[in-house]
C-alpha cells in the first residue's frame, strides 16, 4: 500500500502540473479570470499537500516509527522532543521536502501579491518557479523519497549525530533553506520580466531581500555553531559546505546593490539579470553540495544519480536565461553615469571576484583528483578583497548621488583623521602594522557611515543599508582580530588539583562531576582560569559519551568565558583512566564579539530595509529621482 505521506507528494505533483499549464495560459493573455483562479487554487492545494507530507513525516518521528528508514537513521528512543522535530531536516530527504514546502509558500505569496486577475509577468514567473518545484517533487518521489520503509520494524534508531544536538543546528537548516528557496522568485521574475520587456526589479525586491536576510541568519547560525561546538576556536574554515552557502549570499548582495542603480539610472540591467540567474544557480549548487557531500569525493559524484539531475537543472536555468536575454536584447540598453553609481559597480565587482575565488576553491577537487585547497588560498585572496570592500563602503558613504567632490572631502576629512589617529595609537600600543591599518580603515568607514545616519532616519531603505554596512565593518575588524591574533595552546595536561601554566595564563583543575542519564554519560570538569595571577573565571568544559548504536560517540563540549574584547575558550579532550589528570585545548580569541555583532547588524539592516516606508515618505518617493538629486 502507498504510504500516506508519499500519496500527498503525488497529489502535489498532479496539482503542480495542472497549475503549470494553467499559468502558461495566463501568461499568454492578460485578464484570464477563470484560468487565473484555477492556477491560484491548484498552487494552494499543492502547497497544502507538501505541508501535509511534511507533517506526516513529523508524525512518524514523534511516534518513533523506526520502520521508516529516514526516522531510523536520524532519531532514537531517547531523543528529546525538540531534537526529534529538528531531526526532520537532519538528512537529505527531509531537508529537500522542507525546501519544496518553502518554495510552495513563496509561490502562494507571489500569487496573493497580485491584486488584479492576471499579471502576465507574474503568471510566467510562477510557471517557471512551479517548474522548479516540480523538479524537487520528482526527486522526492524517486531518489530522495523520505517515506521509504523497511519490511520490519527495528526497536530503535541509529540516532541523531550528537554534534547536531544544539539550538544553532536545530535552526540553521530551516533558515538557510528559506533563503535558498526564496531566491527562485527573483530568478523567475527576471526571466519573465525580460521576456515581456517589463520591470522585474520592483516586483522581486521584497523576495530578494527576505531571502538574503534568511540566508544571512543561516550562515551566521552555522558559524556560531561551529565556534561553540567543534572546539577548534574558529568559526569559519572555508569548508565546502560553508562555502556553498556563502556563494549565493555574495551574488545576492551584489544584486541588491545592482538593482539600486537600475532603479535610479536604468543602468546595469544586463548585470542584474545575470546576477539573478547566477544566484539561483548557486543556490541549486549549494543545495546539491550540502546534501550530497559531492565535493569530498569524485567517486561520490559519479555514483550519485541526482548529480545529473542537479546539473541538468542548472544548465536549463542558464539556457532559459540566455535565450530570454537574446530574444529581448534591446531591453538591456542603459548608460552608467555618476560617481556613486560607479563606486557601487566597484563594490559589485569586488563581491563577484570574491565569489569567483570561493567557487574555484570549492569546485577544484572535482576537476583535479586527489588534492585539497588550503585555507591559505582563501585567506590570501579574500582578506585583500574584504579590505577593499570596507574601504569602498567608507568612500561610498561620503559620496552622494550627485558625486560632489567638495562634499566628499568635507565628509571624509574628519573620519580619515580619526582613522589615522586610531591607527597610530594601535601601532604605538601593539607594534603591529596590519592591526593598525585595519583599525584605521575600520574607523574611517565606520565614522563616514555614522555621521550620515541622522539625516536618513526616515528613509528606511537607506537606513537599513547603512546599518548592514556598519555590520560589515564590524565583521571586518572582528575577523581580523580573531584570525590574525588568536592564541592557541594545545594540548594541555592538568593534574587534579594542580595548576598548569600556558603563556600568561594559569589553568587549575579544581575537580570533576559525573552525570549519567538515559541519553548520555557526562564528565564535567571545573577549571579556574587565571591571568597573571588574577582569576578570570571558572569554566566547566565537559566530555559527553552518548549512548548510541554508533560507536565512539564522544563529544567534547566547549566552554567560553566571554569578555568584552576577547573570549577565553576551553575544550576538554580527555581524562586519564585513574582521573588524576585531564587534557585540554585553550584559546584566546580577540574581538570575536564583533564577529557576532556584525552579522546581527547585517540581519537587522536587511530587515529594516524591508519595512514599508512611512506614509509621508511614500508621497515623496513618486518624485524621488528629482528630489534626491
Amino acid at each position: 500500500m502507498m504510504d500516506v505521506g508519499y500519496f500527498f507528494l503525488v497529489v502535489s505533483l498532479v496539482f503542480s502540473i495542472i497549475s503549470f499549464f494553467t499559468l502558461l495560459r495566463c501568461a499568454k493573455e492578460d485578464k484570464r479570470k477563470t484560468a487565473w483562479k484555477v492556477a491560484k487554487y491548484t498552487t494552494a492545494v499543492s502547497a497544502i499537500s507538501y505541508f501535509a507530507a511534511l507533517f506526516i513525516l513529523l508524525y512518524y518521528f514523534l511516534v518513533r516509527d523506526f520502520s521508516v528508514q529516514y526516522v531510523f537513521e536520524f532519531s532514537d528512543v531517547h531523543l528529546s522532543t525538540f531534537y526529534t522535530i529538528s531531526a526532520l531536516w537532519a538528512g537529505r530527504q527531509g531537508s529537500l521536502l522542507l525546501w519544496a514546502c518553502y518554495l510552495s509558500i513563496f509561490n502562494v505569496s507571489l500569487f496573493f501579491s497580485v491584486r488584479k486577475h492576471g499579471d502576465k509577468v507574474v503568471a510566467l514567473a510562477l510557471a517557471i518557479s512551479t517548474l522548479v518545484l516540480l523538479f524537487f517533487n520528482v526527486l522526492l518521489l524517486t531518489s530522495s523519497n523520505p517515506f521509504v520503509r523497511f519490511d520490519f520494524k527495528p526497536p530503535n534508531g541509529i540516532g541523531l549525530n550528537p554534534l547536531l544536538r544544539t539550538m544553532e543546528m536545530a535552526f540553521h537548516p530551516p533558515t538557510i533553506f528559506i533563503g535558498y528557496a526564496g531566491m527562485t522568485i527573483p530568478f523567475a521574475l527576471a526571466v519573465s520580466g525580460t521576456i515581456f520587456g517589463e520591470d522585474w526589479i520592483r516586483r522581486s525586491r521584497k523576495y530578494l531581500i527576505t531571502s538574503w536576510v534568511f540566508l544571512s541568519i543561516g550562515i551566521f547560525l552555522g558559524a556560531w555553531w561551529s565556534y561553540r561546538t567543534l572546539g577548534w576556536g574558529g568559526f569559519w574554515g572555508w569548508d565546502p559546505v560553508e562555502n556553498a552557502s556563502l556563494l549565493p549570499w555574495l551574488t545576492a548582495s551584489a544584486l541588491i546593490h545592482g538593482i539600486l542603480v537600475e532603479e535610479r539610472r536604468k543602468a546595469l540591467k544586463l548585470l542584474n539579470y545575470i546576477l539573478a540567474i547566477l544566484t539561483f544557480n548557486l543556490v541549486i549548487l549549494a543545495t546539491f553540495i550540502t546534501r550530497s557531500g559531492i565535493i569530498s569525493s569524485v567517486h561520490a559524484f559519479a555514483q550519485n544519480p541526482e548529480a545529473h539531475a542537479y546539473l541538468g537543472l542548472i544548465t536549463m536555468a542558464t539556457l532559459i536565461g540566455v535565450i530570454a536575454a537574446a530574444y529581448r536584447r534591446d531591453n538591456f540598453n542603459g548608460n552608467l553615469e555618476g560617481l556613486r553609481e560607479k563606486l557601487v559597480l566597484g563594490n559589485i565587482v569586488v563581491l563577484l571576484l570574491s565569489m569567483a575565488t570561493v567557487l574555484l576553491g570549492t569546485l577544484a577537487p572535482l576537476f583535479i583528483p586527489n588534492v585539497s585547497v588550503d585555507k591559505s588560498y582563501y585567506n590570501r585572496l579574500e582578506i585583500p578583497l574584504g579590505t577593499a570592500l570596507i574601504v569602498l563602503l567608507g568612500v561610498c558613504a561620503a559620496v552622494d548621488w550627485l558625486g560632489r567632490r567638495e562634499r566628499f572631502l568635507e565628509k571624509s576629512k574628519n573620519s580619515a583623521l580619526a582613522g589615522i589617529l586610531a591607527g597610530v595609537a594601535v601601532y604605538i600600543a601593539f607594534k603591529t602594522v596590519i592591526a593598525s591599518l585595519g583599525v584605521a580603515i575600520f574607523f574611517f568607514s565606520l565614522l563616514n557611515h555614522i555621521q550620515d545616519m541622522k539625516g536618513i532616519l526616515s528613509n528606511r531603505r537607506k537606513l537599513g543599508g547603512y546599518i548592514a554596512h556598519v555590520g560589515m565593518i564590524f565583521l571586518f575588524i572582528g575577523v581580523m582580530g580573531a584570525w590574525m591574533y588568536e592564541e592557541s595552546y594545545k594540548p594541555i595536561t592538568i593534574e587534579y588539583g594542580k595548576t598548569t601554566k600556558v603563556g600568561d595564563f594559569e589553568l587549575r583543575l579544581a575537580g570533576f562531576d559525573v552525570f549519567d542519564d538515559e541519553e548520555k554519560f557526562t564528565i564535567v570538569s571545573h577549571v579556574e582560569i587565571y591571568e597573571n595571577g588574577r582569576l578570570q573565571g571558572l569554566a566547566h568544559p565537559k566530555l559527553i559519551f552518548y549512548k548510541l548504536m554508533r560507536r565512539d560517540r564522544v563529544v567534547s563540549s566547549v566552554e567560553i568565558i566571554p569578555q568584552p574584547f576577547r573570549d577565553l575558550y576551553i575544550a576538554m579532550g580527555g581524562v586519564s583512566r585513574d582521573g588524576s589528570k585531564a587534557y585540554y585545548e585553550f584559546y584566546v580569541v580577540p574581538l570575536i564579539s564583533f564577529v557576532w555583532l556584525g552579522p546581527l547588524l547585517i540581519i537587522a539592516g536587511g530587515s529594516i530595509a524591508l519595512l514599508p516606508p512611512p506614509k509621508k515618505r511614500k508621497a515623496e518617493l513618486h518624485v524621488a529621482p528629482q528630489v534626491l538629486r
Binding site: G293, S372, V373, D374, R550, R551
Partner: protein, 132 residues
C-alpha cells in the same frame, strides 16, 4: 564609461593572475596509504583514508593509535589531541610524517559532521555511505 570599463578590465585581469598563483600554491596533494608504505619514510604529507573499525587503542596523555586504510593497505597512525566526534569506519585525512612504522599525525581531519550526507549505516553496522 569607456575608461571605467578599461580600469575594471585591468583590475579583473590582475586579480585573475593573483588568483592563479594563489591557487597553484594553495593546492596540496593527497597521497594514499599504499604510497606511504611503499616509500617507507615521508615527511609532511596528507593521507586520505578510512579509519579501520576496532583498531583504535587509547593511551595515556590523550594519545590514540588507530589504523588508516585505503582499501588495499593499512598503516598505524599515532595522534595526540582532541578529536571531537571521532568515530571508527569514517573517512579521515591525516597530516604529518611517516617513519619507524608509524604515521605521526600533526593534524587529523575528520569529515565535517554535516548531517546532509550522514552515515548510511545499515543495521548490520556495515558502512555503505560516505560522510561529507
Amino acid at each position: 564609461m569607456e575608461k571605467l570599463k578599461v580600469a575594471l578590465g585591468i583590475l579583473i585581469i590582475i586579480f585573475a593572475i593573483a588568483m592563479a598563483f594563489s591557487f597553484k600554491s594553495g593546492l596540496s596533494p593527497y597521497v594514499t596509504v599504499s604510497y606511504v608504505l611503499e616509500k617507507g619514510e615521508v615527511r609532511n604529507v596528507q593521507v586520505n583514508g578510512t579509519i579501520v573499525p576496532n583498531s583504535t587503542v587509547y593511551l595515556e596523555n590523550n594519545t590514540r593509535i588507530f589504523e588508516l586504510t585505503d582499501g588495499k593497505a593499512k598503516m598505524k597512525v599515532i595522534y595526540t589531541g582532541i578529536l571531537s566526534n571521532y568515530q571508527e569506519g569514517i573517512p579521515a585525512v591525516v597530516v604529518g610524517d611517516y617513519y619507524d612504522g608509524y604515521f605521526h599525525a600533526k593534524k587529523v581531519l575528520l569529515k565535517c559532521p554535516s548531517k546532509y550526507a550522514a552515515m548510511e549505516e545499515n543495521y548490520s553496522g556495515k558502512v555503505a555511505g560516505k560522510v561529507k
